[in-house]
């Protein structure tokens, strides 16, 4: 089961440039929350602050409070430990090129010291089934490398890899932006099913996607969260004029 995400006064900087201003919001458990906004509005930065990936950029820092279930992201464990509890899928599918499909899915576990063969087999199978890739690759798990799959398959592989460590929450940063409509459709279908077990935050620049998969949608502009509400409200009667201007294409 997933857990909810609570963010309180999150601020983030790249060196001296501030990228996020006092973000306060909640993403409810077992739902998908979409983050939309024009380029450069901070939506990717925001999501990367949730699992402290933001810090991997030199000179980047963040302040504030992020609570994922029981976990206090900034004041508890180290960044590395936090990231083991949160799954992330990136814009461009990034399977480890020199590893087989099996090793890719198991990477999160093996690299963190877990080596029980039987359990690994089980987990790899379960994760690939969860990400709807099992049937397509079950006969070439160890023979094919992760990079030999098609774009859509690679992204599903990355989803399986993220799910293998059984995170509380799954963060997706524009997961379908490099994919064709069929692959996109498969992954959206997947997100729908994954909601039963996980809490999902998905950044997307495609508003139709947000309206298809997410129950809640947040609109970011210039580093601020302008509005967060149920998706149907945002897309039929948004409260803020800036939100309306953006979604109707009057700017951005």
């Amino acid at each position: 089961m997933g857990v909810g995400i609570k963010v309180n006064k999150l601020n983030a900087w790249f060196g001296k440039t501030q990228a996020l201003y006092d973000i306060t919001m909640e993403a409810p458990a077992n739902h998908a929350t979409a983050i939309i906004g024009p380029s450069g509005c901070g939506k990717s930065t925001f999501v990367r602050c949730l699992n402290r990936m933001h810090e991997t950029v030199p000179d980047a820092r963040a302040t504030g409070r992020v609570q994922i279930g029981e976990l206090d992201v900034y004041n508890g464990a180290s960044a590395v430990q936090i990231r083991r509890r949160i799954g992330m899928v990136f814009q461009k599918a990034n399977p480890f090129p020199t590893m087989s499909i099996y090793d890719n899915v198991a990477a999160g576990l093996k690299l963190n010291g877990f080596h029980d063969r039987a359990r690994l087999d089980e987990i790899v199978e379960r994760s690939l089934k969860l990400s709807a890739l099992w049937d397509e690759v079950k006969d070439s798990l160890r023979k094919k490398s992760g990079a030999s799959l098609s774009g859509g398959q690679q992204q599903r592989l990355c989803i399986a890899r993220a799910l293998a460590v059984q995170p509380e929450v799954l963060l997706m940063d524009e997961p379908c932006s490099a994919l064709d409509p069929i692959s996109t459709g498969k992954i959206e279908e997947l997100i729908f099913q994954l909601k039963e077990k996980f809490t999902i935050v998905i950044v997307t620049h495609n508003m139709q996607q947000a309206s298809r998969v997410a129950e809640f949608t947040g609109f970011f502009l210039l580093g601020k969260l302008i509005e967060l509400d149920k998706t149907e409200k945002i897309f039929t009667t948004p409260s803020d004029k800036r939100t309306e201007d953006y979604i109707t294409g009057r700017f951005g």
Binding site: T56, R83, N94, F96, T98, S100, L111, K144, C158
Partner: protein, 295 residues
Amino acid sequence: MPDNEMAHSDFVPAPISLWRRGMNSFATFAAAAAVILVLVPLGAVFGYLIYKGIGSINWAFLTQTPKPVGEPGGGMANAIAGSAFILLIASSMGVPIGIGAGIYLAEYGRNRLGNIIRFTADVLNGVPSIVVGIVAYAIVVLSQGHFSALAGGVALAIMMIPTIARTTEEMLLLVPNIVREAAYGLGVSRWRTTLSITLRTATSGVITGVMLAFARVAGETAPLLFTAFGNQYWNWKINQPTAALSLQIFTYAISPFDEWHRQAWAGALILIVLIVLAVSAVRFVASRGMMEGAN
């Protein structure tokens, strides 16, 4: 034809002019000529070596130590073994240090210190091999009081390190950052990511760098003059002077004896062949570990 129709001939491209075709042929010819120009000396060297040396290669040559001056026969077996021994010592120092330096420069060295190290490496690369030999002499031989394989190894290692470090750095930088991010996202620590993911992805490039450095130092003579010094007999002790193929070739070549000249040619041929074999063997072993579709 009505005004609103466009003439069909508007879209037919003009035929390629004679000048263009001539230029095209000339450029192709020039490129081919350049390739030949490069291959010819290589082929000439190989060809001449084979011509001069193949006659002298026999089982005795490959298994016996040198005979005293004047006596026919004998071989370079100890020099072949000695070269391998010295190169092993050099690699065991040069490869880890070189790769380690390369990792530092790529992953942690995008700063002032890194630039200093890079500059130092480039300078070291340009130091003449005889000077490296003298330095190794001063550091190892003088403090130990005798020539040794270790000193030879140290000299060669010093020459290997800059090449390995720079190539390793280049190869690691070629690994796309999204691969590292994938590992960070899974909660893998930075050092672990560097070793298990980034380095592993860049493996084939790193091996190329190591092989380049290896091939270069395998044939070096000057650094070994005052360090390994050479030996007429078998030696497996790290602290004793050791024979090396390049040294032996040098010694024989500048001697006044025809017999030794003959053996020098043979030795040179063996040296080239062994280097090519060594590099190929490593490539073969490395490619066995690759999977279908991996890069």
